[in-house]
């Protein structure tokens, strides 16, 4: 039996971590992730988990210890944000290349400089090529559900990759929400036991992790990671299916919202999608046929499925909570990937990008409404006036 609790996003994730009861957690505090590790530390000090909580002296050491523990054969979790992720970036790649199924709560925050502790997606975008599986979460409930599924996805023998579960810093990480928390026993049964195939601590079969590759083998090892990503695509859906059957909540590669009969759609991830849904409802009441697509699985990028879901639209507006400086028209990464996907899957819909919310700049319903009105105009004229708009920046 589940129960509903008033929890902030970080606390919901910490609760999931308690229920998962990983063997090791190595983490370093950074705003806005801190309440996650603080709450988890309470669980540790109160004897509610068996986890060995390694209070490392930096994020670089956090991910390093996670890699060591995972290679040893333990189930490992961690959490970080922004510059913490940036500091551990070297090891983030190593975690994926060493095929360590680490589950990480990534509380999205802007990268310095100037230093900004509020939400944007620049941090996660910095690891999109690292080989990690990346999931977006609209709210605390999704973050809770996703981190539980992350364990199963990452540890799947066809995958064996680390998984980052994103949620918006402060916006959902610190906002109280009504979260459905499942029974401890049910979560424990769902995640099951981790059965490492090549643990370092199997003394009977000593093995070497992290050798030197020359140009004769590095490429083959990378090709293996590609294969794992292909499997991940399938595994994410399998795990979501099982999750649905057990916990009665349906997840997929993304969430279409009133999209089937829409004429125009907006693509937006994490908390702003929640705001956008309210806008969609309002505009629908006004008789406008608008819809929303909320990405969930970002890596691997479900290009075909996204293209198919958007094929019928007359205009697609992407909202990016990060910029890729110097990319085509200084667009955001979500836009750049989507445009490539649509082009390669023969979807000829006019597309435009709206960069928003950098450094925690609020995104208001009326601003999203404007995006929809722009979309409708594009649908009418077939012409995109401006490829990339920086929403609500003061000129």
């Amino acid at each position: 039996m589940s129960k509903f609790e008033a929890l902030a996003g970080n606390e919901a994730v910490a609760t999931a971590m308690r229920q998962i009861n990983p063997d090791v957690m190595a983490a370093y505090p950074i705003t806005p992730q801190t309440s996650t590790v603080q709450k988890f530390a309470d669980f540790v000090s109160d004897g509610l988990v068996d986890t060995d909580f390694v209070t490392v002296e930096s994020e670089h050491s956090a991910m390093s210890a996670c890699v060591g523990a995972s290679a040893a054969g333990a189930r490992v979790m961690t959490a970080t944000s922004a510059n913490g992720l940036a500091l551990m970036w070297e090891i983030v790649y190593i975690a994926a290349s060493n095929r360590c199924p680490i589950a990480m709560s990534l509380v999205n925050r802007a990268l310095s400089a100037p230093i900004n502790i509020h939400c944007d997606h620049s941090d996660v975008m910095g690891i999109r090529d690292s080989g990690w599986i990346i999931l977006f979460s609209e709210n605390g409930q999704e973050a809770y559900d996703n981190i539980i599924q992350a364990i199963r996805i990452g540890e799947h023998p066809d995958v064996l990759l680390p998984v980052a579960v994103c949620q918006d810093g402060f916006i959902t990480s610190h906002s109280l929400e009504r979260v459905e928390i499942f029974d401890d026993a049910d979560v424990k049964a769902f995640v099951g036991e981790y059965k490492p195939q090549w643990p370092l601590l199997d003394l009977e079969h000593p093995k070497t992790y992290g050798p030197l590759d020359f140009y004769d083998y590095y490429y083959e090892h990378k090709r293996q990671q590609v294969e794992a990503m292909e499997h991940a695509h399938r595994v994410v859906l399998e795990v979501a299916d099982e999750f649905n059957r057990k916990f009665n909540r349906n997840y997929g590669l993304f969430e279409p919202y009133k999209l089937d009969d829409a004429e125009v759609g907006v693509i937006v991830a994490n908390s702003a999608a929640g705001t956008a849904k309210v806008v969609v409802d309002k505009l629908r009441d006004e008789g406008l046929k608008v819809g929303l697509l909320k990405p969930r699985l970002f890596r691997p990028f479900p290009a075909k499925e996204l293209s198919d879901a958007l094929r019928h639209l007359k205009a697609v507006m992407v909202m990016d909570r990060s910029a890729s400086f110097g990319a085509m028209d200084n667009a955001g990464p979500l836009f750049l990937e989507l445009v490539a996907a649509l082009a390669l899957h023969g979807v000829q819909v006019p597309v435009a990008d709206y960069v928003y919310g950098l450094g925690g700049r609020d995104i208001l319903p009326r601003e999203i409404e404007q995006v929809y009105h722009d979309a409708l105009k594009v649908a009418e004229t077939g012409q995109v006036e401006r490829m990339v708009t920086y929403l609500s920046v003061r000129e």
């Binding site: 063997d23 090791v24 190595a26 068996d50 986890t51 060995d52 390694v54 209070t55 490392v56 002296e57 930096s58 670089h60 050491s61 956090a62 390093s64 210890a65 996670c66 890699v67 060591g68 523990a69 995972s70 290679a71 040893a72 054969g73 333990a74 490992v76 070297e90 090891i91 190593i94 060493n98 370092l200 601590l201 199997d202 003394l203 000593p206 093995k207 070497t208 992790y209 992290g210 050798p211 030197l212 590759d213 020359f214 083998y217």
Partner: protein
């Protein structure tokens, strides 16, 4: 009963580092590793920082390690082994794996220890993980081409502190990392050298059985970087000890103890003149550098004698 510390008995035990690794002929590092591993009877798990030892022993698809071994990155041998050790503790506590008296080791060069790795090392020992961290100190970033580290001796020529027309080699004295580790007040800290193998092995055993974090700084002669013959490794290491450039001591639960006192303290010049990296300090205009190094060696030696109650 632990294996008796005699070469005959020790040589009967299985060799944990295989031949066929690609470190240089006469490398001090592998001598150190072999001696350390020979001293430990228990199973070991090793984390190794990037460097000569790591690269030379694990060129894919070959590994010279016959024990569980992980390389992660350059600066994180200590945090990596922290994770392995935490995993072991956690899983043994939960009954997931049996308790097997495993000894956790980290190997890193002076690069991965004095400089880029010092944070991870300091953090790991502060947290009290039960492991032995061995620094094989060859006094430079050897693997990448002999660049200076904070362990490089004063006056040495390295590729980033070259003996040039204006600046004659490294101008700073080396960091005293062993003292820094002693200041962490961990159960066991020692400075050792493979030329005194019995001293090194006794220290190893104390270190792995101290019940907490332990650190050993071991002088590792590098014939490439120091510019001497491949067969002179042990002799030149011993000269560093006998000139008191590299004193052998231990700090056991805060008590400083000198474990080797040279019968006759040799002038540091005798060590310098055997190595090509110091050739330039023998020029008349640079001879004052030898005096400066001698003065510092003497100062640190006197300080150590006081700490060890030998003054």
């Amino acid at each position: 009963m632990a294996t008796k510390l005699t070469p005959k008995e020790l040589s009967k035990r299985p060799e944990r580092l295989s031949p066929g690794h690609r470190l240089c002929a006469g490398c001090g590092a592998t001598i150190i590793v072999r001696q350390i591993l020979a001293a430990i009877d228990d199973p070991v798990v090793i984390a190794n920082a990037t460097g000569c030892l790591e690269v030379g022993t694990t060129i894919y698809p070959y590994t010279a390690w016959r024990v569980p071994w992980i390389h992660n990155a350059f600066e994180n041998a200590a945090s990596t082994i922290s994770g392995v050790e935490a995993a072991y503790r956690s899983m043994v506590k939960q009954g997931k794996i049996p308790e097997q008296n495993v000894k956790f080791l980290a190997f890193a060069g002076d690069g991965g220890t004095y400089d880029i790795g010092i944070q991870a090392l300091s953090g790991a020992v502060e947290r009290g993980h039960q492991f032995l961290y061995v620094c094989y100190d060859n006094g430079a970033y050897m693997n990448t081409g002999i660049q200076r580290s904070s362990a490089t001796p004063y006056g040495a020529h390295t590729t980033t502190s070259p003996a040039g027309k204006v600046i004659p080699g490294k101008q700073q004295f080396r960091k005293d990392l062993t003292a820094i580790m002693a200041a962490h007040h961990i159960p066991y800290v020692a400075q050792a050298a493979p030329s005194q193998w019995r001293d090194l092995m006794k220290k190893t055993r104390k270190a792995v059985n101290c019940g907490g974090p332990a650190f050993m700084n071991v002088l590792s002669s590098c014939n490439r970087g120091w510019r001497h013959g491949t067969n002179e490794t042990i002799e030149i290491t011993q000269l560093a000890v006998d000139t008191c450039y590299w004193p052998l001591y231990e700090v056991e639960n805060g008590e400083w103890r000198l474990t080797y006192k040279p019968k006759k303290k040799r002038p540091v010049e005798e060590w310098l003149k055997r190595q090509g990296r110091f050739r330039h300090v023998f020029k008349p205009e640079n001879r004052h550098m030898i005096d400066k190094l001698q003065a510092e060696v003497d100062r640190r030696w006197e300080q150590l004698l006081k700490l060890c109650g030998e003054a």
